[in-house]
């Protein structure tokens, strides 16, 4: 529980506009990728639910496997984002 003292809050972060813009753009691209996957999943469940019975691999149906892909995919994209983001000053975070 280090750090919980009455010391003042950390100093304000140094702003670096190009880095902020780069990170924001990267975030929006990855967001669009995930949104496409999530949108497809929701629309298939809503309008083609029978498709969810298909068994694409390992004996697991599309409903369960696509759910797992969305969960694992979120983590993979999150890690990719954390890796590609830049720190103020131009280095990778």
């Amino acid at each position: 529980m280090a750090g919980f003292t009455n010391s003042p809050p950390p100093p304000d972060e140094v702003r670096d506009l190009p880095v902020e813009q780069y990170n924001a753009r990267l975030g929006l691209i990855l967001f669009a990728v995930y949104l496409a996957g999530y949108g497809a999943y929701v629309f298939i469940n809503a309008f083609r639910p029978a498709l969810m019975d298909e068994v694409p691999f390992l004996g697991i149906n599309l409903a369960v496997s696509s759910g797992f892909v969305l969960i694992v995919g979120a983590l993979v994209l999150a890690l990719l984002y954390a890796w590609l983001c830049r720190k103020p000053g131009g280095n990778r975070a």
């Binding site: 924001a24 149906n61 369960v64 969305l70």
Partner: protein, 579 residues
């Protein structure tokens, strides 16, 4: 069902509560400043904050509600898991870093950063309070639901107990103690859920084709309030009867009677190829006023269990009914947009030192929450096939599943479920208290307050919000927990997200646009909910057909509406001098 109180559960409960209170008092002695109270001084390490995100987010609805829904209806519960997790993508890629840079204590700080407007402060504070209260109700109801069968206390006592503990946690050290309670709870929830899943897989699946396992059950509440189960007075004494736990596999693939230990993929394969007995319920009232609920077995193929559309909520997905499909789309949109709009989640970004720490903590949060949601599928299906369902109360599924492995797992899982409520409620109360002190008193009313005065008033606000939550938790006892959480997500997504996103990404956004958008999103989503068929049926007790709105979930209409209102009002007020 009557659940006998467990002595081990009481002891473990007490230990958990004492531990959380110990943390609070320890940190409370070190918290003197407003920054320390409302944002833990910005000193929380990113990893701790990430796990605390999980502790904050995985509420009673996630743990008790989703496990119960999967156990009762199969895949439909997992749809909630996916929607809840997907919302974190919005939080990470769109909101986290700019929010951290723009704000200090509350969500209103970020909205108001460019404009310094009292109107924005007030509207954001109202929205924070409304969403927090909506989210608090199901947590408190969940607490009562949990305490009642586990410790034998009445519902109000459970709600009061949670309220008292949470008020103590928040009033002593604010965000600092809340963070560590959530870290503690998030870690335990993951560890015990993983342990439970390993035990489920190790036990494997067993078939029970006996007629006794599939015998229907009835519970009658007589006009004078007595309860009869299968015709006998409800109880565990001689001459009395009680509902039995259900949920079993009737037939395994290949004609075997049990599988022995299985891996996760083999478990899902076997469930898909088995025949499972689900249960449906029907309630009828006779001329003398006796109300009888009949629970009937419904043999269902495993393939059907693992596809959408088995629950009453999503039954329309199997039909050609467009309204049901729009209702589903609306819910999934609200879940996707709601996470990054919940005030108690947003304020957690102010507890770390910079934008990079905000980003890293969200990644940790996604990992922890994602793991938990994968486990919900196994826990739900484990309960469905392991004979551990209380047909009268889906919220008891996870604790009863643990009980099937012994008293100690039961005590631990129940205590974790209890801290689940504690963690989420404390986060919500900190958010609401911050909105009262920081946004309303110093931001809108412009009251000059010293740091220590802010902390004192913040603690007083926490006590008041806690008491309101206790009262609402008692009043809304009979409301469905998941349903209430859906309300909170819809209101948050409609009121907060459009303003936040447009402020970050559209330079022509004006303060008037933000104020009207938050107001419109909040009022239209609340209005839609109050006029929805579900509310007509479950709250007002009148036919859903009389509802003037076509489907119950508002997000599909109110989120785009809030965006549109912001754009139109901003364009109309674009010569704002602040710009």
């Amino acid at each position: 069902m009557i659940h006998d109180p467990s002595r081990i559960a009481v002891v473990v409960f007490a230990l958990f509560v004492l531990f959380t209170l110990g943390i609070s008092f320890y940190l409370g002695r070190r918290t003197r400043t407003a920054s320390g109270y409302f944002a833990a001084g910005g000193h929380v390490p990113w990893f701790v904050n990430g796990v605390a995100f999980a502790g904050d987010y995985l509420s009673a609805a996630s743990f008790l509600g989703i496990c119960g829904m999967i156990a009762f209806y199969g895949y439909d519960g997992f749809l909630y898991s996916i929607g809840y997790l997907a919302g974190w993508v919005v939080a990470l890629f769109v909101i986290a870093e700019p929010l951290k840079r723009l704000g200090k204590y509350t969500f209103a700080d970020a909205l108001d950063n460019k404009f310094q407007s009292r109107g924005i402060k007030l509207m954001a504070a109202i929205s924070t309070l409304v969403v927090s209260v909506f989210y608090l109700i199901p947590q408190m109801v969940g607490a009562g639901v949990l305490i009642k069968p586990l410790l034998g206390f009445p519902h109000w006592a459970g709600v009061l107990m949670v309220g008292a503990v949470v008020i103590l946690i928040v009033a002593t050290a604010g965000m600092a103690s809340t963070t560590y309670v959530q870290f503690f709870k998030g870690s335990l929830l993951l560890i015990f859920s993983a342990g439970l899943t390993v035990m489920i897989l190790n036990r494997g699946l067993k078939a029970d084709p006996s007629p006794e396992a599939s015998a229907p059950q009835t519970i009658t509440v007589t006009a004078d309030g007595k309860k009869l189960v299968n015709g006998k007075p409800q109880g565990h004494g001689e001459g009395q009867g009680d509902l039995r736990q259900v949920g079993h596999v009737r037939q395994l693939p290949g004609g075997v009677t049990e599988t022995g230990p299985v891996g996760p993929v083999e478990f899902l394969n076997t469930v898909r190829e088995s025949e499972i007995v689900l249960w449906s319920s029907k309630t009828a009232t006779d001329a003398e006023g006796n109300k009888t609920t009949t629970y009937s077995p419904k043999p269902t193929s495993g393939a059907d269990v693992l596809r959408p559309g088995n629950s009453p909520t999503f039954a329309g997905l199997k039909s050609a009914d467009l309204t049901a499909k729009l209702n589903f789309l609306s819910l999934m949109l609200a879940l996707f947009c709601g996470t990054a709009s919940l005030p108690h989640i947003l304020i957690r970004y102010y507890t770390v030192k910079d934008a990079a720490a905000a980003r890293k903590s969200t990644v940790v949060g996604i990992a922890a929450i994602g793991c938990f949601y994968v486990l919900t599928l196994f826990m739900g299906l484990g309960a469905m096939t392991g004979g551990t369902i209380d047909v009268s109360n889906s919220n008891m599924t996870a604790p009863l599943l643990a009980k099937s492995f012994g008293e100690l797992p039961f005590a631990l899982i129940s205590a974790v479920a209890f801290t689940t409520v504690l963690g989420t409620v404390s986060g919500l109360i900190v958010a609401a208290s911050g909105a009262v002190v920081h946004d309303v008193m110093t931001g809108f009313l412009k009251l000059e307050m010293s740091d220590s005065a802010k902390v004192r008033v913040g603690k007083l606000a926490a006590v008041c919000v806690g008491l309101v939550a206790v009262c609402l938790g008692i009043v809304f006892e009979r409301m469905n927990v998941n349903y209430l959480v859906g309300w909170a997500f819809s209101v948050a997504a409609s009121a907060n997200l459009p303003a936040l996103v447009m402020l970050l990404f559209w330079k022509r956004t004006t303060k008037e646009g933000i104020i009207v958008s938050v107001f419109a999103g909040m009022m239209t989503s609340l209005g839609w909910i109050l006029l929805s068929g579900d509310t007509f049926k479950d709250v007002y007790g009148i036919s859903a057909d009389r509802s003037p709105v076509p489907f119950s979930q508002p997000g599909l209409v109110t989120i785009p509406l809030s965006f549109a209102v912001l754009v139109v009002v901003s364009l109309l007020t674009k010569r704002n001098p602040q710009r």
